[in-house]
């Protein structure tokens, strides 16, 4: 474990050195990423000029909703910074045969393929997320109980774990299919469902969609559970959601490991 931590430290340092070598580019990336985020925040502010809350009686009024958005920013920033850059590279590695060089290294292939590149500029959104969370908490009707401060970081990690599992399974699909750009687009469209509170998925179409996105692909547990714990009073139902998120995170990690190993076993080299 220590060896892997030290190797990850080396990867992270190398990526930081690279980012700092092209400092202007790094700053530009941070600014553009903050630009997209500000645009979305402006949209939500605009929406709240027309409505007191998102969903009647849902409890997602302005301050809790921005706590929800902040939670999403923090989780996505972690995934975008630590896992996505490596996973994106995998598509080309499979096609060009670059994956062979990884497989002969005396290291776990999943570790190497999912953590060898760190994009520090993605963390900018996460920092804004922390600031936004502090702003939202200061404007909420209730003060979160002490246990929230233990649960919230744990549930953030669960959210990251669920998304990590999903990234790895998509990466495994890339190995099986040779090249697969559409599935990474699919990642973007799928995670889009986790951007809003689960309560909005109601009615004859929303109900089944909510069930699928909670129990089949647990994308709705990623942001909803930690955000609910910090932004709304803890009730019996919330504890059920906490248990579901923890189970989903563990299941997601195990399933992704199994799928990835199977995919690697079926990999045929593309290089000569």
């Amino acid at each position: 474990m220590n060896r892997y931590l030290s190797i990850f430290g080396t990867f992270a340092r190398a990526c930081l050195v690279r980012d700092m070598t092209f400092r202007a580019n790094f700053i530009l990336e941070c600014v553009t990423s903050l630009g997209w985020m500000s645009m979305n925040l402006a949209f939500y502010l605009l929406v709240f000029t027309y409505t007191p809350e998102i969903g009647k009686g849902s409890g997602w009024s302005k301050a809790p909703f921005f706590a929800f958005v902040a939670t999403g920013l923090i989780i996505n920033a972690i995934v975008q910074a630590f896992f996505m850059p490596s996973a994106e590279e995998l598509t080309e590695m499979v096609r060009t045969g670059g994956l062979d060089a990884v497989l002969v290294q005396p290291l776990d292939a999943q570790f190497l393929l999912s953590l060898h590149r760190v994009d520090f500029s993605s963390l900018a959104n996460g920092l804004v997320g922390v600031g936004l969370l502090a702003w939202a908490l200061g404007r909420m009707d209730h003060t979160p109980p002490a246990i929230t401060w233990l649960l919230y970081p744990l549930l953030l990690l669960c959210g990251v774990a669920i998304l990590y599992g999903l990234v790895i399974m998509l990466a495994a699909a890339t190995i099986l299919m040779g090249r697969n750009q559409s599935l990474y687009d699919f990642w973007f469209y799928l995670t889009n469902f986790s951007r809003y509170p689960a309560e909005i998925y109601a009615g004859p179409w929303g109900g089944p969609l909510r069930t699928v996105c909670t129990f089949v692909i647990p994308i709705l547990l990623v942001v909803n559970v930690p955000a609910r714990v910090i932004a709304q009073p803890l009730t019996g139902e919330a504890w059920g959601a906490v248990a579901a998120a923890v189970i989903a995170a563990i299941a997601s990690l195990i399933a992704s490991r199994l799928v990835f190993q199977r995919a690697l076993a079926r990999y045929r080299s593309a290089s000569s």
Binding site: G55, S182, Y189
Partner: protein, 290 residues
């Protein structure tokens, strides 16, 4: 005007035949990726699903029957229509492709061949769009059929004509705006960050994110001017909001004519800007090697 464009004007038939050949080549090239197109098109409707649920939740929590003149059904129809208008005005890879051809030197063949680069790009884009529509008509037709209850009754013939005209103009506007951005590659080599900034502004001000009418409550300065009024004079809203609003009957009569005139003026302005950028750019362009 380039030598190729001048020659095409002197002999229109020859010019047309060159144009037709360019279109045919690009059509064949594009048809190779028809499966990818169809899948990609269906997936692009997924974010709209979340928007539909979001706005349904917003309407359920407010006592208003409409927001900025849009009922819930109008909003859903609006988002679907912007998908259609963006299918005309979005030009994926155009600016980046032009800048790359400047950087790697492949643009130099257009300086010696009797083919006008801007015309070639336009032909390639028309081919790209024709193939896209031919394949996308199935997923678009399916989604629009399933969501037909959200749409108001089919408008009168004049509105449909204005809608179609606004779509064609939005295609040309999108093309010339992105092509002009790509031509900046003659000065900056790498335009990806400029394109990214453009996309950011475009996404917000084109109406892709929400109907521009929502900005009527956002004041600019103290003269009673709203942000929507300012955006009305910029080119962006004509690439998504305007055609959709025309179909939904939100823009009518003299306002419709005035908006069409502004859109046409922007097309002409951007076409001229693109030509100027190409002429000035090729003058300062230097290529080495074979």
């Amino acid at each position: 005007m380039s030598r190729a464009a001048t020659a095409a004007l002197r002999d229109p038939l020859r010019g047309l035949s060159t144009w037709w050949t360019m279109l045919k080549i690009c059509l064949e090239e594009r048809l190779v990726y028809r499966g990818d197109f169809a899948l990609g098109t269906l997936m692009r409707f997924l974010p709209i699903v979340t928007q539909v649920f979001l706005w349904t939740a917003v309407f359920s929590a407010t006592s208003r029957s409409d927001i900025a003149g849009y009922s819930r059904n109008d909003i859903v129809a609006y988002y679907l229509l912007t998908m259609l208008t963006r299918a005309f005005s979005s030009m994926p890879g155009l600016a980046g492709g032009i800048a790359r051809s400047v950087r790697d030197g492949s643009v130099k063949k257009f300086l010696i061949q009797p083919v006008d680069y801007v015309s070639f790009l336009l032909a390639a884009r028309v081919a790209h769009k024709l193939v896209y529509y031919a394949v996308a008509v199935v997923p678009f037709g399916l989604v629009f059929f399933l969501c037909r209850s959200y749409f108001p009754p089919v408008p009168d013939a004049t509105t449909i004509a204005a809608f179609l005209l606004s779509l064609v103009l939005s295609f040309l506007l999108g093309f010339f705006m992105e092509a002009t951005l790509g031509m900046l590659g003659f000065w900056f080599m790498e335009v990806s960050s400029i394109v990214f900034g453009y996309m950011l502004v475009q996404y917000l001000l084109s109406g892709h994110m929400f109907p521009i009418d929502l900005l009527r409550t956002v004041p600019v300065g103290s003269g009673g001017v709203s942000l929507a009024d300012v955006v009305h004079w910029l080119p962006f809203e004509y690439t998504a909001y305007f055609p959709s609003a025309v179909w939904l009957g939100k823009v009518r009569g003299p306002e419709l004519l005035g908006s069409l005139a502004i859109e046409a003026a922007w097309v002409v302005a951007m076409a001229i800007a693109c030509r100027i950028a190409w002429r000035r750019g090729t003058r300062r362009y230097a290529a080495f090697g074979g």
